[in-house]
Symmetry: C2
Subunit: 386 residues, 2 copies
Amino acid sequence: MRTVCVVGAGMSTWGEVWRKSFRQLFVDAALEAIEKSGVDHLESLYIGCMSGGLFVHQEHLGSLMADYLGMAGIPATRVESACASGGLAVRSAYIEVASGMSDIVMASGVEKMTDCHGDDASAALATAADQEYEVFHGATFPGLYAMMAHAHMAKYGTTRQMLTAISVKNHFNGSMNPVAQYPFKVKPETVESSVMIADPLRILDCSPITDGAAAVILTTEEIAKKLGKPYIKIIGSGAATDTIQLAQRADMTTIKAATLAADRALRMAGKTLKDVNFAEVHDCFTIAELVILESIGLYAPGKAGAAILAGETALDGKFPINTSGGLKSKGHPVGATGVAQVVEVYKQLTGQAEGGRQLKSRPKIGMTQNMGGSGGSSVVHIMEVA
Amino acid sequence: MRTVCVVGAGMSTWGEVWRKSFRQLFVDAALEAIEKSGVDHLESLYIGCMSGGLFVHQEHLGSLMADYLGMAGIPATRVESACASGGLAVRSAYIEVASGMSDIVMASGVEKMTDCHGDDASAALATAADQEYEVFHGATFPGLYAMMAHAHMAKYGTTRQMLTAISVKNHFNGSMNPVAQYPFKVKPETVESSVMIADPLRILDCSPITDGAAAVILTTEEIAKKLGKPYIKIIGSGAATDTIQLAQRADMTTIKAATLAADRALRMAGKTLKDVNFAEVHDCFTIAELVILESIGLYAPGKAGAAILAGETALDGKFPINTSGGLKSKGHPVGATGVAQVVEVYKQLTGQAEGGRQLKSRPKIGMTQNMGGSGGSSVVHIMEVA
């Protein structure tokens, strides 16, 4: 397999974007990625999107997006794994370049969630859970993650303050990210007095409903060098599934798909977590970030909360998590999130993170962890400075 | 890139399948493919599906299907390109095996269309067209293909009898296919007196709404040999897009995405159409089959109709088309169709086609052509006996 590099990244506006269409969000991100990378053509396109059908009543996204990018003709593939769709788009593009099938491939993600067709956005999102055995009985994602939070609290004594610290940290980081949907700091007391969604999760424990897109260009090292733009290498890619139903798992306090995906990506990279300097992880809810840090092995079970309270995962901590602001502050257009995580790692490793959030520690290796449903799927990438 | 083989294929029941769920259809096809291939595990899974969201209100298909197959843990990716989703699932699995990332990968497709959630199936299918510029103004696929038929008739003198001959031929072939949804012959006068859907297309010009799944196992040649089961080689894979809107194309009587995809697949295989013995093509409407045969270069523009009337594409003709019965007779569960085309080529090339439809000519090379929307995307594979 050939070495694959990321050269160039783009993001649309993220937020409640009433004045731009689904296709325009994609084109905005794609054009920025093309411009920043310096490539003059694409050989293939991947688009991560959870539900064009339910959100905007539009499928056939490969044709639509290649067309509106002015590139009708190229192969284009939409991939879906609920909120891990973007991570899989990056992985699919990675495999295509690594295989030798194509030399210059765009991995992108897009979702337009705020003008949801038909049902409301929560009902559309619930299709990432088991329709027959979870959703039919009333489960939604805030409810499922609330159950994980209660289980973790019962087993390990995890506290409200630990969850609060995650929200406060991610909003602090996101306050420096110009594309973040909610680029402002929040105080602990604001988090803890915000409206209850599904006990113990409050609104400031939950990532928002977002319109947005992200894109990166993947290519060979030879071409990346020639382009003369900053680039990084993808050195590991891991993906995994687990039971779609939360109730069928042996332990609700860990996410096995994240464990498997991280192990596979690290093994492929020939690295351990000790070699990794920072990570973007899937904080769809504050409890998710905490559970993921334990699931990928950064902390032992039950130990992440105290470390977070001690500031270990802060921007100036020993292992910064979600320097972009994470899903919580930056926003969570579900199909785009996994690609945006790679955008952040690309920016951090090439010294391009804006607004004062650039890591001072000159990181060499970063990780992304993207997740679908209540942990039914996960995708992890390890990237290294070139 | 490594040589990739198809070893083992499976199909669920196709039709209006009220007693089996979405997931069960997939599992039926997948288990048959696993059993026939003799593999004892999968390393990755691809699922072609157009709209789990709109048809059955279920996304996150990688997690769901890997889980219900008893294989939670493996990477699983759902790919979508409207009715070409299945072809792209095969292509994605092909790239993954060719790259060296995985050795044993399942490519599958599934759609459950007859118990459509919310809108009717036609509205769900219309999301493969441009929602803002086609569907909003009332266009549906029978209407779009009817326009192509009128344009072809006006330009080349294509007749009702030519379209009729396609329906009659495909139903004849399908009458010998045990999994076909409509496994019966039809008379020309029945086609021509059937109810009008969108002039000039009648109901017997249209492929049906179908529940069904299909699956194939892709692996390396080394493993295929060891398994000791019949296998074939994939020697070419081509994919392409075109404008999603029919109205934006220079010529409505040809499908450029099919031309591009076929050219790319043949070039990769180092073959020309003269080397190919038979093909499964995307006859979502009778006119589609006619236009595709011209678009891929089997006949000059305007010449396919007369050749079809002369029996050249019949089971005993010089270039048999849709020996399976095609979408018209076999059925068209949109995400599964592209995989089922590969199932038919696998069966024909390994001498396993049932019911008397096995080609007597001992074919050596077969082609599949799968298509999304009104030709906004197309995927072509070339396969050869091992």
